[in-house]
C-alpha cells in the first residue's frame, strides 16, 4: 500500500493526462479552426467503445471464447475478460503492448471517421446550429451505447482487458498505467504543438479569423475543416480508449457531455484558446481542483451545505461565466506562434531592408 498522498498525486496525474488529450483535441478544432465543437464526447466515447468492444473480442475469438453479441453480456463478459487478463495478458508484455497500440490505432481511425462525418454538417451550418448538431451527435452515440447491449453491454457495461496487468497488480500497476497515460499525453501535446506551429496550424487560424480571406488566398475551407475534425476526432478517441483501459471497465453511461464536452470547454477557456500551453495550464489547474474535490468529498461534505458532487457543476459554470466576463482570452492569451526562430526572421528582415537602403 502506498501512502494516500501518492494516490492523490496519481489521481491528479491521470485526470490531467486524459483531459489534456481531450482538451488539446478540442482546442485544435475550436481554438485553432474555429469550429464550435460541442460534441467532444462523441469521439471520446467512440474511442472508449473501441477499447470495450474490440481487443477483448479479438482475444476471446483467439482463445475460443464467446466473442459475438454474448461477449458484451455481463454474465459472460466478466469471466471471459478475467481469463484474458490472467492467462493471456499478464504473462505477455509484448502482446499487451501490441493490444494497447492496436486498439489505440483502431480508436483513432474510428474517431477520425466520425470527425470526417461531422464535417458534412460543419460545412452547411453556422455557429450555434453547428454546435447544437455536434452536441446531438455526441448524445446520440451515448444513447446507442447505453441501450444496445451487444455493443458494449448497455447499462451494465463491459470489463475492458487490462494491457497493464503485465506490470503487476495494485500500486505498481496504478503507477505504471498512470505514467504510460502521461507519456501518451505528452506525445500528443508535442504533436499538436508541432502542427500548431506549422503552416497547417496557421492556415486553420487564418480560416478562423476570416473565412472569406482564407478562401481568396487559396485555402480550401472544406478540406481544412475536414482535417481539423479528423485529427481532433482521432486524438479524442485515443484519449477515450486510454481512459477505458485505465478504468478497466467501460459503461457508456459515464461518457456524459458534462464531463467530456463541457469540462474540456471550461479547461480550454480557462487556460486560453488557440494555444496549447494555455490548455496545458488550464487542464493542470482544473484537474488538480477536481481531484481534490473528489478525494476530499467526505471532508467537504461536513463543511459545506451542499453535496460535494455539485461543487463540480458549480465550478464549471462559475469558471465559464467568470472567464467570459473578465478574461475572455483565458489565463494565457494566444500568442503568435513563430514558425522560424525570431532571430532568424530578424536576420532575413535586416538583409532585405538594408539592401534596399543602400540602393
Amino acid at each position: 500500500m502506498l501512502p494516500p498522498y501518492v494516490y492523490l498525486i496519481l489521481n491528479i496525474l491521470v485526470n490531467f493526462a486524459v483531459f489534456l488529450i481531450v482538451t488539446l483535441s478540442l482546442n485544435l478544432e475550436t481554438g485553432y479552426a474555429g469550429i464550435p465543437q460541442f460534441g467532444r464526447v462523441l469521439a471520446v466515447l467512440a474511442g472508449a467503445i473501441v477499447a470495450g468492444a474490440v481487443p477483448g473480442r479479438l482475444i476471446a475469438y483467439y482463445i475460443g471464447e464467446k466473442w459475438g453479441a454474448e461477449y458484451a453480456n455481463h454474465l459472460y463478459n466478466f469471466p471471459i475478460v478475467d481469463r484474458i487478463n490472467r492467462e493471456i495478458l499478464a504473462p505477455n508484455p509484448l502482446l499487451s503492448i501490441g493490444i494497447l497500440l492496436f486498439t489505440l490505432v483502431v480508436a483513432a481511425i474510428f474517431g477520425g471517421i466520425l470527425g470526417y462525418l461531422s464535417s458534412y454538417p460543419a460545412l452547411r451550418l453556422k455557429e450555434a446550429y453547428l454546435g447544437i448538431t455536434l452536441l446531438a451527435f455526441g448524445d446520440a452515440l451515448q444513447i446507442i451505447g447505453k441501450y444496445w447491449q451487444p455493443l458494449v453491454g448497455a447499462t451494465m457495461g463491459v470489463t475492458v482487458p487490462d494491457p497493464y496487468r503485465c506490470i503487476g497488480i495494485g500500486a505498481e500497476k496504478t503507477i505504471g498505467a498512470t505514467l504510460i497515460f502521461l507519456g501518451f499525453a505528452i506525445l500528443i501535446y508535442l504533436f499538436v504543438e508541432s502542427l500548431g506551429r506549422s503552416p497547417f496550424g496557421r492556415a486553420l487560424k487564418a480560416m478562423r479569423d476570416s473565412e472569406v480571406a482564407a478562401e481568396v488566398y487559396g485555402k480550401n475551407i472544406v478540406r481544412l475543416r475536414g482535417w481539423a475534425l479528423i485529427i481532433g476526432g482521432a486524438i479524442a478517441a485515443v484519449g477515450g480508449a486510454l481512459w477505458a483501459f485505465y478504468a478497466g471497465s467501460m459503461k457508456a453511461l459515464t461518457y456524459d457531455r458534462l464531463t467530456w464536452t463541457f469540462w474540456p470547454w471550461a479547461f480550454m477557456m480557462l487556460g486560453g484558446t488557440g494555444n496549447n500551453f494555455g490548455v496545458f495550464v488550464g487542464v493542470l489547474i482544473f484537474s488538480t481542483v477536481r481531484s481534490l474535490i473528489y478525494v476530499y468529498k467526505h471532508a467537504l461534505a461536513t463543511i459545506i451545505p451542499i453535496k460535494p458532487a455539485w461543487l463540480e457543476y458549480i465550478l464549471v459554470g462559475l469558471v465559464i461565466v467568470l472567464i467570459s466576463l473578465f478574461r475572455p482570452q483565458g489565463f494565457i492569451p494566444e500568442k503568435p506562434a513563430l514558425s522560424v526562430k525570431r532571430k532568424e526572421i530578424e536576420r532575413i528582415k535586416e538583409a532585405i531592408t538594408s539592401k534596399k537602403a543602400e540602393a
Partner: protein
Amino acid sequence: MSSERRRYILETKDLTKAFGGLVAVNHVNIKVERNKMTMLMGPNGAGKTTFVNVCTGVLKPDEGEVIFDGRDITGWPPHDVYKAGFVRTFQVPEPFLKLTVLDNVLVAIGNKGENPFRGAIKWLWIREEKENIEKAFKILDAVGLADLWDRQAFTLGAGQLKMLEIARALATGAKLIALDEPIGGTDPAYANDILSYVKGLLKIWDVSFLLIEHRIDIALPFADYVYVMDRGKVIAEGLPDEVANNPKVIEIYIGE
C-alpha cells in the same frame, strides 16, 4: 489561345449578379489587358465590389462568363481562382486578426506544409517557409510594414490594415490582382507613393492590375485604361483623358 485571349488576362461576358430585385452587376463586359493597370471607377453602390466578388468566386454569378487567362473560371470557388493566379484585396480589410503581419502575408503566399501530414514534419516545409519570409519582407518593406512584422493584425490602425491588404495580394505573385479601393482613407501623398510602387511592378513582374478606385484625382494618372460603372452597368470606357472628358462621367460625378 486566340490573340484576343493572349492580350487580355481577364474578360467578362455579360456578367450579371442580382440581390433580390437589385441588379448590382448588369451584363458587364470588362477586359483587363495583360501587364497593364486597368481602372474601374464609379460612384458608391455602382457594383464595383460586387463585380470583383463575382469574378473571384466569392459570389456566384447569375449569368455570364468569367474568362481568366484563357480559361472559363465562372463560378469556381475562390481557392481555385487563387490557384489559377487571380487574387483580390478587400475594400473593408479582412485581416487574419490574431496572426502577425508577417503571418498574414505568409498565409497568402501559401506553403506545402499546409497539408497536415507535411505540417507535422518541419524539415518538409521549413526551406519553403524561409524563402517565403524573404518574399514577404520585400513586400512589407515596400508598403512600410516591415518593422511591424510581429504585431498581431488586430493592433494595426486603419491605414496599416489597408497596406496589409495590398501586401498580402502582391506577395502571392498572382497574374492578376484586383485592388478594391486600396488607398481609401490614406493621405494623398502616401496614396500616390503606393500607387507608383504598384504601377512600377508592372515593369518588373508578370502581373496585371484591376484597380478599383473612388478618388479619381489620385488614381486616374496611373491608369492605362478605364471603365466607369454606374448602377450596375458599364457606362463608359476608354483612355483616362477620354473618360475624364466624357459628359456622362462628368454628370455622374457632379451629380453625386
